[in-house]
Subunit: 196 residues, 2 copies
């Protein structure tokens, strides 16, 4: 698994990818820098030559995660060019897929749970990235011709966020199993009352 990352690439990239994977699986406070560097096939000194601190590494990991999520949106546009409603349904399918594929939630949400200090440097980054994702979903709903685009986007956001937490507490057979039905029902309902 991490071996794929360990193969020849630059140490900084290996550290970043390995840290992302390990933070995701074991939590931020559950992973030490020694474990990260060892899994990345390097050592602690090299890590601290590329990152100011563990907090800095955490922030870079979150930015990388957000960047990958951004690529997902571009894939939707590439698959259904101009068809915003189809892209919205693609988002629902992708979300459901993530729920089943991986028993851990959103890296940013998980980080917010773990990093409780109000002035932790990662908190502002998390807020910024989460707000950008929300804006993107709102825009998609609006461009799909849905009347109360903000309300639908926020509802879908909370549903997905809740589902990602739910799989961590009761597993994939719990309430999150109904996510697609809930989301599709909401979209139908909002389209019905649309004033596009």
């Amino acid at each position: 698994m991490a071996d794929g990352v360990v193969e020849r690439s630059r140490p900084r990239d290996r550290i970043l990818e390995t840290a992302r994977d390990m933070f995701h699986k074991h939590g931020i406070k559950g992973v030490g820098v020694d474990a990260i560097t060892e899994a990345a096939g390097t050592n602690k000194m090299t890590l601290y030559r590329h990152f100011e601190s563990k907090d800095d590494l955490i922030i870079e990991c979150l930015r990388a995660t957000a960047s990958k999520a951004g690529a997902m949106w571009e894939a939707f546009e590439a698959e259904f060019p101009g068809d915003k409603l189809a892209q919205l349904h693609a988002w629902v399918r992708k979300a459901a897929e993530m729920l089943k594929a991986d028993g851990r939630g959103c890296d940013m949400a998980n980080a917010a749970v773990e990093l409780t200090e109000p002035d932790h440097p990662a908190r502002s980054v998390i807020k910024e990235l989460k707000e950008a994702q929300r804006d993107r979903l709102v825009t998609l709903c609006r461009d799909a011709g849905i009347g109360q685009a903000e309300l639908l986007a926020d509802t879908l956001s909370l549903l997905f966020e809740g589902a990602r937490v739910s799989v961590q507490t009761v597993g994939t057979e719990g309430p999150s199993a109904q996510f697609v039905r809930m989301a599709e029902g909401l979209i139908v309902s909002f389209r019905g009352t649309a004033a596009g």
Copy 2:
């Protein structure tokens, strides 16, 4: 704050309440047993005379939290005896109140995020307690005469869970601000299609 707990009561109770408060605010891995006992006005040895380990203390805290949540349901029944629909609306109001009052999420969900080891003793307790809460909401919806009671209960659960996460990432002014409108709209919608 903790001083209220520190006043004369039995050490075990003070430790439990203080630990609950500190775990809630700072996370489980963000609080050491020394800090807990000091805030509780006692010492580490007394803690380990009453609890086998920190993990055991965590589990007892989660059970205490679930117990308090259970008392909330009884308060609904006391306030609106027999009127299940009114109790459902009371649940929505209470949920919204919790969202605004406290920027941290559900203790059980947060614990599930932090305790990533699949066989951690707290994980089965979290699952058990979360499933019990879900059953309660399903029963309430069904007794309120709603047709697809499970689906509404699961949707409301995910919405609330998501909102509690959202306040931790983007604050109370984000998507969670619309929680009441979402929940009330869902109840109306499900009552419309009811086949009670």
